[in-house]
């Protein structure tokens, strides 16, 4: 393994998203802050408590997680896909870089961007409401494994995609609906059957509720169940991404 190559690829990815920070950092921060203002501040004042906490507090972990999920995915998927399209992936493919270094560099940079934006959303939320940190260990666990999982999924999507439309399927038709239906804005206890049960098959539900438990100590599912689903998702996506990179799928002919 080349430590210099790994460090260079990691730093290159960070510089790439830093150079377009308006799009990669400020834009998601503004969008999520608007959600927070509309749902948390404006509507939240009219809604009763959910799961024993004020609604304005209830939505923040979901919004933080939704932002981190989106940004972790977008960072790897857009970077890798653009490299494929404009041909600069050649620079990496002819270098003494193996699948492991590619995974660590791309995923590490995406996680950093997701943490950065997630932290900024959290800090914006703090200006509106007191916000507890119930269990820092769970917060870190879910932040790390969820962003890693989504960054890996972004790599899989970029490897598979052959045009921009393919890539757009994931954030628009998979991640956003799953996040909205995964209890970002509500508790699934409010849902009638069969929707309550159906919601339990949504992996984003466990990601959102895992982080919510870490922040607030309340969640629709236990943190252990959330952790199990997140770890299983991580293992599956890691296996797929590793296999695709090792085989050179859609990269090396």
């Amino acid at each position: 393994m080349s430590a210099i190559a790994l460090k260079t690829l990691f730093l290159k990815e960070i510089r790439r998203f830093s150079k377009v920070w308006l799009q990669t950092v400020l834009s998601p921060l503004v969008t999520t802050s608007l959600y927070f203002l509309v749902f948390g501040v404006a509507l939240g004042s009219r809604l009763r408590e959910i799961s024993g906490v004020p609604y304005i507090q209830f939505v923040v972990p979901g919004l933080v997680m939704m932002t981190m999920v989106r940004d972790a995915f977008l960072n790897t998927s857009s970077s890798l896909f653009q490299s494929k399209i404009n041909g600069t992936i050649t620079d990496v493919l002819v270098a003494p870089i193996g699948a492991f270094e590619m995974l660590v560099a791309y995923v590490g940079a995406a996680m950093l961007r997701a943490f950065l934006v997630g932290t900024l959303v959290y800090l914006v939320a703090l200006t509106f409401t007191y916000f507890p940190l119930h269990h820092v260990g769970w917060i870190l666990f879910f932040a790390i494994f969820v962003t890693a999982t989504l960054a890996l999924l972004g790599m899989v999507a970029a490897l598979w995609a052959e045009k921009f439309d393919h890539l757009a399927i994931f954030p628009n038709f998979v991640l956003l609906p799953l996040a909205f239906l995964g209890g970002v804005f509500y508790s699934i206890d409010l849902l009638p059957e069969p929707w309550h049960t159906v919601s339990l098959f949504n992996p984003l539900l466990y990601m959102v509720n895992g982080l919510r438990y870490g922040f607030l100590g309340v969640a629709d599912v236990t943190p252990e169940a959330s952790a199990a689903v997140v770890l299983l998702s991580f293992a599956v996506v890691l296996a797929v991404a590793s296999a695709l990179l090792r085989s050179g799928y859609n990269l090396r002919s």
Binding site: S2, I4, A5, K7, T8, L9, L11, K12, R15, R16, K19, V20, S83, N86, G87, T88, T90, D91, V92, L93, V94, A95, P96, I97, G98, G248, R252, S253
Partner: protein, 247 residues
Amino acid sequence: MKPPVLRCRHVSKRYGKFTALRDLSLEVYEGEIFALLGPNGAGKSTLIHCITGLAKQSKGSIEVLGFDTVTDFRTTRRLVGLVPQEINYDPFFTPLESLMIQMGLMGVKPNRERAESLLKTFSLDEKRDAYTRTLSGGMKRRLLVAKALVHGPRLLFLDEPTAGVDVELRQELWQEVEDLRAAGTTIVLTTHYIEEAEKLADRIGILHKGELLLVESRDSLLERHSGRSLEEIYLELIRKAEGRHAA
């Protein structure tokens, strides 16, 4: 005799039912300029891709300075440089940043002095801090050559480096190729400008439909066909091969 810098043994490459390379064996020796000629689709780029890691051969083995390009890919890729046929550039970075990044990717500690020296060599020093997308086509092509050299490769592949390039820049590029050879770099190039290959190359390989029709030193090839240019010899060989395929 010195061991070859590049040794391809019985290399075949298939894409589904299409055979791009057929049982190809080739050796390239230290310090020479080897010109790989052939019509479009002959397999020149495929062979270069198999050697540099952009593709994997279906059969056979490839060694660079005795290291296998599949099992010892980290070693061979440090020894090899590639100037790809298609111009590519990262719109996020300047020429100076691109060179520094490429050094790191190749496993060499990024060295600003080395990067600046390469920019000067390739007349890009005035554009070192400009976004790469603002460079002219010729400058982008020169940047590709500089990127391929950041790690001091022992074996350099130039895949049609003068395609779509004006006469002046072509001459500049070929002068740079001569300088690199003089500095000890072994060079494999592909070009459609046969007269340039005739002028530059020590040995010529002619590829047709994935098969090597001929590998010979330029001097002996021209001597055997006295009075005829390399272009005439090339066209005759290709026509004969086309005839055999048609028959």
